[in-house]
Symmetry: C2
Subunit: 116 residues, 2 copies
Amino acid sequence: MEKKDHKDCLAALVPVRDTLDVIGGKWRILILISISSGNKNFRKIERSIPKLSTKVLSSELKIMEQDHLITRTVINGFPVRTEYTATEYSKTLKNVIAELHDWGINHRKKVFECSE
Amino acid sequence: MEKKDHKDCLAALVPVRDTLDVIGGKWRILILISISSGNKNFRKIERSIPKLSTKVLSSELKIMEQDHLITRTVINGFPVRTEYTATEYSKTLKNVIAELHDWGINHRKKVFECSE
DNA sequence: CGGTATCCATAGGGATACTG
DNA sequence: CAGTATCCCTATGGATACCG
């Protein structure tokens, strides 16, 4: 947040935007938490998150797989099952999520305290 | 990222979503950085950020003011000037932005290295 | 179960023009 | 300069139905 010239600003911004592109969507963190909590299959994840439609879940899962946040495994059998798991890589988001979480807590306090 | 039951998950998620609602938009961090860098008036901010339209800037600035991230000051004179400044409060986002930034850097590396 | 396909409504964003 | 207002268009998301 120090003074910087414009080029530095843009340079500083790109990685932040990259991260937000990965986790900033409306559903991604919710889905990640759901999966990390043990919901491994499509319907369970869907049901665990209010207002989340199959279409959106489907597309978000694909993106998250591309981003190496989750793994999709098809298990042959009767019936065929599909399992989603959080990758080790997704755990590198721990600090990020912790900061987002803490700031959110404080912000909520702030908003309630001073409504000026 | 540990195992949690569903209620805990949702509870953990709310503050994260709160934070993302504040800074997760497409433009807000860009605008905040621009202002923090010394761009104080509307046109300067607008010009400093490629692809940002007046309409969007206008609405984002209002929201950011409500969220106490920036301050808007009208300075009477000829012509009337308006000054936007980053609040002290916005500086509490320092750690959040640092984490987002660092993760973004690493993620970009990861994406380049293993394109599997 | 694990999705895809389709239809449709709505919001958000670009371009432009205009006000004070 | 500092925005608002308008028009218009596209992308996103909900609802529903359907396939393997």
